[in-house]
């Protein structure tokens, strides 16, 4: 809850006692007490609007005065009595609906919305079967000028929900009303083809079939589809998606706005909604494959599994168990990752399991644990919309955690959330916040920004330092470490005036429920660990020295990047961050996996659902490592560049074909359910691990998903009570010792410019893509087909580069060619390139460079 307390008011609904916080609109209060009021333009995520006039209720004030009011805009008040569904309100509400039906085509038998249509439901509720008016239907052709959303506006009832969702939830304003009176209609500017963020949230909120999802071949009445709720398989925000399928074929994904369902209130982003093209896809790996001297031959599952196990056994016997290494999957379920580490630890006898995120930044888990040790447990992310201030640290929310952006925007409207955005790019984030502070700092100065704010909190007395000192033993150490962060030094390093930093500090420090959302970009700053420490220190300061609360989460990229670590796919921890028993010894080849593959220590490597050749930041080195390791197993859905290097390839399934749970970046454990059976010969990762155990001769005693969940609940204390995940519970950090302390790091030199390389590379996931696997989703390549770099117009002018020109980008390791657009979002001296195109290998440009990559650019003829 926000620190601003709202009074509770008491009233009656249809004779029954009820209560709600002051300011709640009647329709919402009624819903909370189980009373539905007819309505067509109300949505609890949006500001009251009152366009449809079908939600009228009868209100008697405490002194008996009667009023007919619109329940979607009228707040409850102390002592009122509300009557819904009276003869009178039905008559009024019905009349308004009747007018809408004059124009509406009533082509329900061929409408995608049929069966889940509020217009149908309300017509039914008000029993409006016989209209009194002459029917005057509009008959405009449907508009399919963009690849994903069909506009069939004859069905539009001008409720404005799409316009408001696009503006208020998404911050885009791609749609609006045009004209007025009889001519009013919604549309894009100048009726140009829709060109927007393609979140599809306008489709979700539309109460009719006026806006429709065209991403699927299979269209048709929603009522005829089978549905199951599951968790999006893309980013780490963890949105609930409703999967619709027909005859075992996934047809489309929709948002489920049922209150309390998941963490996203039915909001989705382009990937989550339209990215289902990876499920039924011609290009999937069709059969287990074994590499015979450079050519892959299709083999049976039995043969593939036996080949792997023979090799594992031989390797263990000859070289010892720790030479057998596994990379768990950030897109595998918790149960699968649990089985994977169990396979290694309990069956193979090797503690050598890891994951790509942990390989790059092992300190992220440490950071999380330190938050707990300092008593900072962080609130559920469902409370984000009630927060007072959100610090978005080096994250381009609309691309990185788009639905996180939706919650923040909702907070700015309903809770007065203030927003502080710290980013070296001038990222676009539109919201209705009253206070919107932009810290547009110089690339690579992340740590300085956080440390300067910490110092201002102390120097200006914004936090109660006496309390902090009492609570945290090494307070003096922090003070010393902050000494170099003077106003001048900070300005020099970050390019930010102390005035704006002070504004941010003041807003962050004053009584508030605070959230800090951190982007994965900090890893490219070369100071990931220090940045996390600085943000931890900042959090500790307000945790002890200011009123309110602070919630801070480690940055995670993929749908189960959190869970893969929770489940112990790291050599540092058993599942649940429990210590690794001594019997595994201290030999830890997975700790430096690349080096130990290349030098021959690691003999066997099993990669579960990852494509490090494309995604790992040491592009050339990972290739060498995988080339050298004597035996490589890759299980995946697609023939990635990593799979192409394997000795054995196993076809796995997508998230829509499996059961289990994912844990999102804010630690909510959520249930994954299948929409369809494993396609072709593919098997779930779960089944693959079970079979490996069988053939290894030590079958898992209980291997059904529910059995594994029972085992996790018993052996992983933090997961106790969270599974199977239908309630989206956030796991609580029980059992971490209390050990308050700041993490102090030396001030560091900012990385210097390399001779001859005038620019720095900035890259992250494109708004419509994540990793390399969204490239298989047709809808997403339709809206985001090309890798396009971004360059600041001033730099472009100096180099004679124009919008749309092709440029060459070179580091001292590699070069790529891309078209470029000019944009002031990208700071001078930097080039932004999205990292999702297999043909544009940015990890080769980077090749292990920890900080911003030095590059040069030139125009191609």
């Amino acid at each position: 809850m926000s620190t601003v307390v709202r009074k509770t008011v008491n009233f009656k609904i249809n004779g029954k006692d009820a209560s709600a916080p002051e300011g709640t609109v009647i329709i919402e209060a009624a819903k909370q007490h189980g009373v539905e009021v007819t309505n067509l333009c109300y949505n609890r995520k949006l500001k009251p609007f009152a366009a449809c006039r079908t939600c009228m209720v009868d209100v008697r004030s405490a002194d008996g005065k009667k009023e007919l009011v619109y329940s979607c805009t009228h707040p409850v008040a102390e002592g009122i009595e509300v009557f819904t569904d009276t003869e009178e309100t039905d008559r009024y509400n019905g009349a308004c609906l009747e007018m809408l039906l004059v124009e509406h085509p009533l082509d329900c038998p061929i409408c995608d919305k049929s069966g889940v249509c509020p217009l149908q439901d309300n017509t039914e509720a008000l029993q409006m079967s016989n209209g009194r008016f002459e029917i005057q239907r509009r008959n405009e052709p449907s508009d399919k000028s963009n690849p994903l959303i069909e506009f069939y506006l004859n069905r539009c009832i001008l409720c404005g929900l799409c316009v408001r969702a696009c503006d208020e939830i998404q911050g885009v304003q791609a749609l609006d009303f045009h004209q007025r009176g009889m001519k009013s209609m919604i549309g894009t500017a100048n009726q140009e083809p829709l060109d927007c963020e393609f979140c599809g949230n306008c489709i979700t909120v539309c109460p009719t079939g006026a806006l429709m999802d065209m991403s699927s071949q299979e269209r048709g009445l929603a009522a005829l589809f089978k549905t199951n709720n599951s968790i999006c398989g893309y980013c780490s925000w963890g949105c609930t998606v409703q999967m619709e399928s027909k005859k075992n074929k996934v047809t489309r994904f929709v948002g489920d706005e049922t209150p309390g369902e998941g963490i996203n209130e039915g909001n989705l982003c382009s990937k989550g909604r339209f990215g289902h093209g990876i499920i039924h896809n011609e290009n999937r790996i069709k059969s287990p494959l074994i590499n015979f001297g450079g050519t892959f031959k299709e083999v049976s599952w039995d043969e593939a599994i036996k080949t792997i196990i023979d090799r594992v056994q031989a390797t263990i016997n000859r070289n010892g168990p720790e030479t057998v290494v596994g990379i768990g999957g950030e897109k595998l379920t918790n149960e699968e990752n649990f089985l994977f580490q169990k396979l290694f630890r309990e069956l193979y006898g090797s503690n050598q399991v890891t994951n790509l995120a942990n390989m790059r930044a092992p300190y992220v888990n440490q950071f999380m644990v330190r938050c707990f040790e300092n008593g900072i447990n962080s609130k559920p992310v469902t409370e984000l919309e009630n927060s007072d201030v959100v610090l978005v640290f080096n994250s381009d929310l609309p691309s990185e955690y788009p639905v996180g952006g939706n919650s923040v925007r909702k907070g700015t409207i309903f809770s007065g959330t203030d927003v502080i955005i710290a980013n070296p790019r001038k990222v676009v984030f539109k919201s209705e916040s009253n206070i919107d502070i932009r810290l547009n700092y110089s690339l690579g100065s992340d740590m300085t920004v956080a440390n300067r704010i910490a110092r201002i909190l102390i120097d200006e007395g914004i936090v109660n330092t006496a309390n902090v000192k009492l609570a945290v033993p090494n307070y003096d150490e922090l003070i010393q470490s902050l000494a170099p962060y003077t106003a001048e030094a900070a300005q020099q390093a970050t390019g930010l005036s102390d005035e704006v930093l002070t504004r941010a500090a003041k807003r962050f420090g004053r009584t508030a429920d605070r959230y800090i959302l951190i982007g994965n970009d900090i890893f490219d700053s070369g100071q990931g660990e220090d940045v996390l420490n600085a943000l931890l220190n900042l959090s500790i300061l307000v945790h002890h020295g200011a009123e309110g609360s602070v919630s801070i989460f480690p940055p995670r990229e993929h749908c189960n990047s959190q869970g893969v670590n929770d489940m112990g796919c790291t050599p540092d921890f058993l599942p649940g961050y429990q210590p690794v028993p001594d019997h595994f010894g201290t030999n830890n080849p997975a700790g430096d996996l690349l080096e130990n593959c290349t030098n021959g220590t690691i003999k066997f490597l099993h990669i579960a659902g990852e494509d490090p050749v494309h995604s790992y930041y040491k592009g050339e080195k990972i290739k060498n490592a995988l080339n050298t390791v004597p035996f490589l197993v890759v299980q995946d859905v697609y023939m990635t560049d990593t799979a192409k290097m394997a000795d054995v390839i196993l076809p796995a399934t997508t998230y829509a074909e499996k059961e289990g749970s994912f844990t999102n970046m804010t630690r909510h454990v959520q249930k994954v359910t299948p929409a369809t059976l494993p396609q072709g010969q593919s098997r779930t990762d779960h089944d693959i691990f079970t079979q490996l155990a069988n053939v290894f001769g030590k079958p898992f005693p209980n291997s059904a998903v529910s059995d594994v969940q029972d085992e996790i609940s018993k052996t992983v204390p933090i997961y106790n009570g969270t599974l199977p995940g239908s309630k989206s519970v956030q796991w609580a950090p029980d059992g971490f010792k209390q050990n308050p302390g700041f993490r102090v790091t030396e001030a560091r030199q900012e990385t210097s410019q390399k001779e001859g390389f005038a620019f720095k590379l900035v890259s992250n996931n494109h708004m419509f893509h994540i990793g390399s696997y969204t490239q298989y989703a047709k809808a997403l390549t339709d809206i985001g087909p090309d890798c396009v770099a971004e360059l600041n117009p001033e730099d472009a002018r100096a180099l004679g580069i124009g919008d749309g020109d092709r440029i060459m980008i070179e580091s001292d390791m590699h070069r790529v060619e891309v078209p470029v657009i000019l944009s002031t979002v990208t700071a001078k001296g930097t080039v932004y390139v999205p990292k999702n195109w297999v043909a544009v290998q940015l990890n080769l440009l980077r090749n292990g460079e920890e900080g911003p990559v030095s590059i040069k650019i030139s125009k191609l003829g």
Partner: protein, 156 residues
Amino acid sequence: MFTFTPEDEKQIEKIVGKYPVKRSALLPLLTLVQRRDGYISPEAMKAIGGKLELSPAYVQSVMSFYTMYHTHPTGKYIILFCHNISCQLNGADDLLAYTSKKLGIDVGGTTKDKKFTLHREECLAACSGGPMMRVNDVFHENLTTAKIDKILDSLA
């Protein structure tokens, strides 16, 4: 390509400064552009939106609500001919038809020499003087065919 002149920029700064929220300056900016160019092009909507942090769709929605903003190039003189009740009862329809014929254009059209644009307009609040028309900023009341001839012929 649409651009604001330095003079426009100065004006815009002044106008925007008058309001607590930028968005409120939308109507004055639309008016500024229309006075300069006679109409508001799609590029102009984008540019205005850019100044006020509003999307082109939003700008168009506000603009298209008002019939007095023009989306297509207009002539030097824009004639807004009232056709509401007082003017109509006093013969506005016939006079509008007469004007239309005299100029050789349909209502909504612009003469080939780009001199006149003719529009039908809702009540312009000069009912006591109806029938009436507005030519650019000037109201002409108690119209007759002869008066219309005189007015139009007098315009260079």
